[in-house]
Amino acid sequence: MLLFIFLPIISVITQSLHIAHEQVFVEVENCDFFGCKKSTSVDRAATEQLRSEKPLGRFVGLDNYFNRSHLASSELAAAWESSASLGEFYNQLFNLPLYRAIIFTLVYTAVVTPLLIIFGFIVAVAVNSINEKLKGLVIFFSLLPMIVTPLVGSLILFWMIDARGIIGSTLQILLDNPDLSLKASTPLTWITLIVYGVWHATPFAFVVFYAGLQTLPQDTLESAMIDGASRWERIRYVVIPHLMPLVTFVALIQLMDNFRVFEPIVGFNASAHATSLSWIIYNDLDGESRLLSSASTTSVLTIIGVIILLSPVLVRAWRDWDRQA
């Protein structure tokens, strides 16, 4: 088990510090059905030699981290020098793949996480108050957005939000704009992805909060009622404090999951308008190019990002332990 846990982490970090050996080229003639043509090819014998001496490739230190595809230190400095205003700097920043992805990832995480907690809470409170007999069915349907494969869920939604799909054309009528297309503009694509994110993750918050509501201390609630606390005050002073640890739990998990948002971007073919860190990794590994070092570098940066994002929670966990020990 440890093998599966530690080896990959070590290999990802090692990989991010290396690049491939110099490739030796040879001029060759390639022929296929369609004729012959001069081309280059990799000289295996020469490259093999290099590779067997140093199987990891060339050690480049942190170079991978600071190149244009990642932190882009020199491009950033140049952009800072050349831009007259902050807006211009932002535009240049947005042109660098990693920063563009970070900006979307952060916006997505920052908007989706609180929204899904709020919606999950309201749904939980509402479901808690309905008839016992209906609960099973309602719970099942409430869980659907979470349990159905995002791969196909997004395919169907992608079609539904098309300008001629049921949601797309309903929006056109509602907003009285026959040319409205959710897929054609960057802001609308962001909103679509965020709405999808909330829709997909609300059931998670709902289930956890619903479970928490079952353990609500009835005596506290009743004494609050006797004291004349209004419904809102009861929620504010009894229910929410009781659920607070669960809110932390949901926030923690959802921050992590939203930070690596990926499936909706692929499902909605949205990469022209929105990219995320996970998407960059996927794009590096996809198909024939297989940029392992670049993908590893982005993975390490993602992990660092998550740790920074969650550092307040981590600090608390650390202190908690001290208090208990």
């Binding site: 690049i19 491939a20 050996h21 110099e22 490739q23 080229f25 040879v26 001029e27 060759v28 003639e29 390639n30 022929c31 296929d32 059905f33 369609f34 043509k37 081309s39 280059t40 090819s41 990799v42 295996r44 490259t47 093999e48 490739g57 060339r58 991978n64 190149n67 244009r68 595809s69 042109n95 793949p97 992608f158 098309d162 300008a163 040319d179 297309s181 897929k183 054609a184 960057t186 909605f268 073919n269 949205a270 990469s271 022209a272 308008h273 794009n283 590994l285 996809d286 198909g287 024939e288 190019s289 297989r290 940029l291 070092s293 670049s294």
Partner: protein, 413 residues
């Protein structure tokens, strides 16, 4: 039994009477395991190869969409998990780069095979793959719509613009043109087509340095941008599946589409009334003053792994040679692809691909670093189409992104 004796027996058998030897594929022992893409034509090949299984001969296949990610590690081990890979001219490159496939000259000399010299794919004078099918993107148009608009079928992208304008201005269709401009592989491929059509070379000759940030690159992008005026405004999210569906629904008059998707387009099933019978497969268009059409040619073929025993290599070779034998060519198989196998009688669905070959289109380049440029294009081009950047800036970004990737892979130092 001694391996040497065995294989020489096979060789003798082949020499004396190849017809009998082929009846049982001529394999006496060995393991065959084939990796490849998943579509009907390749499934036919896989099934035909599997027929060679028998006593002492194991044949298995793994035909999957994930083949590109799996093939390199799958052929890397020693011995490799897969003994053969079915590849296209783009996916053979990573196998060549890592030296994972073996030259087939010895096997051909020893066992021959019922294929033509044209099917041999040679790289640097060595046969590295045996091809069996071809593919290309070409135009498709609706006869009835063009007649209604009173225009001739377009032979160049300039014509496409003119025809689309007539159809749009006559109010026949709002968005008459379709092509897979989805961000990523698709839009990069369309740029490649356009750039080759302008007569461009992706790299400075004999070097891995990119050569796209020039007038031809800018012209290519501008032509693509002009075309988008006649495309569904969601074009950056529409891939081949969606464009194809638009066509079948009767919403397009002209589109650029893969020849391998032509079969279903010509069949009534799944199309709106009146669409299929008016669908005409046509030449790929030229662009600007370009002499070659703005498209690329593709082939599919099989390769044999290097890190396997000679026995397995022979078994794999024989099984796959058997699988591409002209005898597989039934009517149903013929309709699955544009086969490059003797005895294939072109079906109506192959018209576009043959027109493309005749027009002298260039094959998609088998250059070690081509795929890196392709993915850099796929990631950076959308900025130009969403109006965020000028063509020059976008092309400069592509080159910068490509150079970082090429450095990582050791192509540029």
């Amino acid at each position: 039994m001694n391996k040497m004796v065995k294989s020489s027996l096979i060789a003798v058998g082949l020499l004396s009477n190849s017809a009998i030897a082929f009846a049982g594929c001529g394999i006496t022992a060995g393991t065959v395991n084939i990796i490849g893409n998943e579509f009907p034509a390749i499934q036919t090949i896989g099934a035909a190869a599997s027929e060679c299984a028998g006593e002492g001969v194991e044949v298995s296949t793994n035909l999957t969409k994930e083949h590109k990610e799996i093939q390199v590690p799958g052929l890397s081990g020693d011995p490799a998990e897969y003994t053969a890979a079915i590849v296209a001219n783009s996916s053979i490159v990573p196998l060549m780069n890592d030296g994972l496939v073996r030259p087939l000259d010895d096997l051909i000399a020893k066992h021959g095979g019922n294929f033509t010299d044209k099917q041999k794919i040679t790289i640097g004078g060595k046969v590295m793959a045996i091809g069996f099918m071809a593919n290309a993107q070409h135009l498709v148009y609706r006869k009835d719509i063009l007649e209604q608009a009173g225009v001739e079928p377009p032979t160049s992208y300039e014509d496409v613009l003119a025809v689309a304008e007539v159809i749009k201005s006559k109010g026949i269709m709002k968005y008459p043109f379709g092509a897979a401009y989805a961000a990523g592989w698709g839009i990069a491929q369309e740029f490649n087509n356009m750039f080759l059509g302008h007569g461009g070379d992706f790299f400075i000759e004999g070097s891995p340095m990119p050569n796209i940030n020039n007038q031809m690159g800018v012209d290519s992008l501008n032509m693509m941008k002009s075309l988008t005026a006649y495309m569904n405004p969601d074009f950056l999210t529409l891939n081949n599946n969606e464009i194809n569906a638009e066509w079948k629904a009767g919403n397009l008059a002209i589109m650029q589409m893969w020849g391998s998707r032509a079969g279903p387009l010509l069949s009534d099933e799944g199309s709106a009334p009146g669409v299929a019978e008016n669908t005409v497969l046509f030449n790929p268009p030229t662009v600007g003053d370009g002499k070659v059409p703005a498209t690329t040619l593709w082939w599919d073929g099989f390769t044999i792994a290097r890190n396997i025993s000679d026995e397995d290599a022979e078994a794999s070779y024989l099984a796959l040679v058997n699988a591409i034998d002209p005898k597989i060519m039934t009517d149903e198989v013929a309709s699955q692809a544009v086969w490059m196998i003797d005895g294939y009688k072109p079906t109506p669905a192959s018209a576009g691909v043959f027109a493309t070959i005749e027009a002298g289109a260039k094959p998609y380049p088998m250059i070690p670093y081509e795929s890196l440029l392709h993915s850099a294009l796929g990631a950076e081009l959308p900025d130009f189409f969403s109006g965020k950047e000028s063509a020059e800036k976008t092309l400069a970004d592509v080159e910068a992104a490509y150079i970082v990737a090429a450095k990582e892979k050791g192509f540029i130092n």
